[in-house]
Amino acid sequence: MHIRRKPAAATAAVLALALSACGSGGSGDDAQESGGKTVTLVSHDSWAASEEVIAAFEKESGFKVKVLEDGDAGQALNKAVLTKDHPQGDVLFGVDNTLLSRALDNELFDPYEAEDAAKVGEEFRVEGDAATPVTTGDVCVNYDKAYFEEKGLEPPRTFDDLIDPRYKNLLVTENAGTSSPGLGFLLGTAAEYGDKGWQDYWKKLKANGLKVVSGWEQAYNEEFSGSAGGKQAGGERPLVVSYASSPPVEVIYADPQPEEAPTGVATGTCFRQVEYAGLLKNAKNPEGGKALLDFLVSERFQEDLPLNMFVNPVREGAELPEAFTEHGAVAEDPRTLAPEKIAAHRDEWVDSWTSLVL
């Protein structure tokens, strides 16, 4: 398609450019894709869904789904903001509550009330349906059960525990400036210790041998000693900032499946995240976009997502897979912050955090 056309067109394109007759070179099939029967979903790299679920949507709606995975959650959002006058797709999925204000302040979305919006938990919904909640999950510290058993050490449970010298040099977290769970964890501490107090807490955390890496993949699958990936890579840190839903994953993907998850969740260190999707302003196929948003909160998709993206559905009454309920942890009173508060302080906090910790 795109690729095969290139060599033949290369020389012609140079000439065309010189004549600035380049307006729509190569957009022939795009017009057909976005303007007609294709609906384009812009998402972050962690997007995943079962093929048959997507196929069912395509069959029912008559739209063909094209997914554009565009960097991590923050990058996908920022790129969407930069290109909002001429968006790359119709729907953006993957804006979490820590960044939602950026999307709303920039008027990225056209408000839309999804068909089943009423079935979504009240606590997740946004005023005026400016964005559609799709998933929820808790960012929590995970621990390597084997390590703590071996050392005869009680695993940490709360934020306060993490600065205990007994847990010196054990925690690895993500860069709050570049990683969604990293930012979630920072906001969790801000909710716990207040606007001023969190900086002191991080100073102590740093003094207690905190390690910071760029992203979740690296932290969880390389540095953490409890995950399958981390074990293989020789990870040395038994504490990692991840999700409450991470332990079930370790079970589901292991072969053979263990009786019990090898990792646990420090349930007093959680921050609640909600991921939203929205209909992009100036979308080429708004009808398709609306159909897609309806689909994202539909029962079929909501029940499919836990085992694909390892987060919880926002739809009330959506059934969770057994492995999820069995091995997943329930956060004790997950920390939350008002969206306005996040919007007002996020960038400033990230900057202070960067100079404090890095």
Binding site: A10, L17, G26, E69, L82, E217, N221, G229
Partner: protein, 552 residues
């Protein structure tokens, strides 16, 4: 001869304008417009009101100052370190004859044309997690400044060996001998005769290295940890991760000013370098090493070259084969882990992009060089000469973001077309094309063209019969450089390459950023492919170039 107020003058202007129109339009639309757009967006905000006070405050923020300071000192340290390591090597390659010298000289040049991401991957294979040093001694340097500095030396080693060493080999040893006969000691003779002759070349090389390391992106991105941030990576982070366009704009302007300053000093030293020196055939100045001192020096340089220059690519190759051909085979599998397409697609994408970018760079750079080479080139045309160098130093990341927001409206809605990537890559290819073509075109005696015209050759025939045969080699060399540079471009491409059409460097960076042996192995395998393509391009260049010293 400046013709004014005459018909001939007007005709000259028309011809010059004709040649300049396309390059000027190209740079206006695809360089100035996007860069200005993204910078203005940062300085003005959504509502159009200027945010200059906020921008000015940015420079006072400690984390911004830290980035500025780090960028500066790491560039200075990289430059100094490269000079310390490479100057003895420049001497050895210039003046000592030993078996394998020619081969080794070609080998040390490979890192310079290597994409920075691949250079980063090669160092990762040596000093990174489960790298060679980690396995042998448990030493890891990834995420530290040390790894970044070493990689900078690796890449820029060739700049010193070629520019300084190339001149050194051509300096007449008779000059030093004359000084010795007048009573100077060996060292005094070197200090008073050779060093001043080499000085401008050393300065020029140092400035180029400073420029490259000051704007380093790929290497820092791959090897540096969260705390290691240069201006270029910080601009990327501010824009892509934080959407802090104001700070990004201020940082872009700072980098712009710094690069402009460095280029100005560089132009000055180039003029100084043209001072008359007695040059001789390099083949006559090399001697086999004599005495313990020279042998020790030769041994030391060979050791350093082996560890610093040869080892990383060698380990990279070895790692890529550690699963037999497994990693290479995995490249062809569309498992959807990291990309929407099989990683091997990135190879074809890259080659196709690079060919298109090379074609664009040759057309634009060739026209610009032809306009600049005209004898009646005026002051403003020469000013354009300096401007052409700017894409080398202006933040590639800024250019990439600029493309995204500036080229989104008809008739220039190129965002969803594949041509966007070659256009960005061509921007960095053009300076190389101009630098390579210009001296050759200037050396063509204008009266040869007149002779051909009087014999009945039309302007087009004149170009074909007189200019082309003389610049054909230069044209091929320029094409090779533009190709290698386009293939390795990372800063601008990383943001504008579409996820379903990644280029090799983008794919390598993405694979490196993902955990697991398979991703790591695939990154190494892709890097090896990229390295082989670049080395092949270089080999062709070397054969074309002969042993003349050039600017690059």
């Amino acid at each position: 001869m400046t013709a004014t107020s005459t018909r001939s003058g007007l005709r000259g202007d028309a011809a010059r304008l004709g040649l300049m129109a396309v390059p000027v339009a190209f740079f206006a639309v695809f360089f100035a417009h996007p860069v200005v757009a993204i910078v203005l967006r940062g300085l003005r905000g959504e509502d159009g009101a200027w945010r200059l006070a906020e921008a000015a405050r940015t420079l006072g923020r400690p984390e911004v100052r830290e980035v500025l300071w780090f960028t500066l000192w790491q560039a200075l340290a990289s430059t100094a370190l490269t000079l310390v390591v490479a100057l003895p090597a420049a001497y050895v390659f210039a003046r000592l004859r030993f078996p394998g010298r020619e081969l080794l000289r070609a080998v040390v040049t490979v890192p310079f044309v290597l994409p920075t991401v691949v250079a980063g991957a090669a160092f990762l294979a040596v000093v990174g997690r489960s790298g060679l040093f980690d396995e042998l001694w448990g030493v890891r340097l990834d995420g530290t400044v040390g790894a970044v500095l070493l990689a900078h030396v690796f890449v820029n080693f060739a700049v010193v060996v070629r520019t300084v060493g190339g001149l050194w080999a051509q300096l007449d040893p008779g000059q030093e001998e004359a000084a010795r006969m007048l009573g100077a000691s060996r060292f005094t003779a070197w200090r008073t005769v050779t060093l001043p002759a080499l000085g401008p070349a050393v300065a020029a090389a140092a400035l180029m290295i400073f420029l490259f390391t000051f704007t380093s992106f790929g290497i820092v991105q791959v090897l540096g940890g969260p705390g290691v941030s240069t201006l270029e990576t910080e601009i990327y982070r501010r824009t892509a991760d934080l959407l802090d366009l104001t700070t990004a704009a201020v940082l872009s302007l700072v980098q712009f000013a710094a690069v402009g300053g460095v280029l100005a000093v560089h132009a000055w030293t180039v003029r100084r370098r043209e001072a008359t020196l007695r040059l001789v055939d390099p083949a006559t100045t090399a001697r086999p090493p004599r005495g313990a001192g020279q042998r020790l020096l030769l041994g030391g340089v060979l050791l350093v070259t082996a560890v610093l220059i040869v080892l990383p690519p060698a380990v990279l190759v070895q790692r890529s084969f550690s699963a037999g051909l497994g990693y290479y085979r995995a490249l062809a599998e569309e498992d959807g882990a990291a990309f929407l397409v099989a990683p091997v697609e990135a190879v074809w994408n890259s080659l196709e992009y690079a060919v298109a970018a090379t074609a664009i760079a040759l057309v634009i750079g060739g026209l610009a060089a032809a306009a600049l080479a005209r004898r009646d080139a005026g002051r403003w045309v020469r000013g354009f000469d300096a401007l052409l160098m700017l894409p080398l130093g202006v933040s590639a990341v800024t250019v990439g973001f600029g493309f995204l927001i500036a080229l989104d409206e008809p008739p220039l809605d190129l965002r969803s077309t594949w041509i966007l990537v070659p256009l960005a890559q061509a921007l960095v290819g053009v300076p190389f094309v101009v630098r390579t073509m210009l001296p050759v075109l200037r050396a063509v005696d204008h009266r040869l063209r007149e002779a051909a015209a009087v014999l009945g050759a039309s302007p087009w025939r004149v170009w074909r019969e007189v200019d082309l045969p003389m610049v054909r080699r230069a044209l091929l060399i320029a094409a090779g450089f533009a190709f290698a540079v386009s293939l390795g471009e990372f800063g601008a491409t990383v943001f504008i390459a579409r996820p379903d059409n990644p280029t090799l460097p983008v794919a390598v960076a993405k694979l490196i950023g993902r955990p697991g042996d398979l991703n790591y192995g695939q990154a190494m395998a892709l890097s090896v492919i990229l390295m082989v393509v670049c080395a092949a391009a270089l080999l062709v260049l070397e054969r074309l170039r002969g042993d003349r010293t050039g600017e690059f």
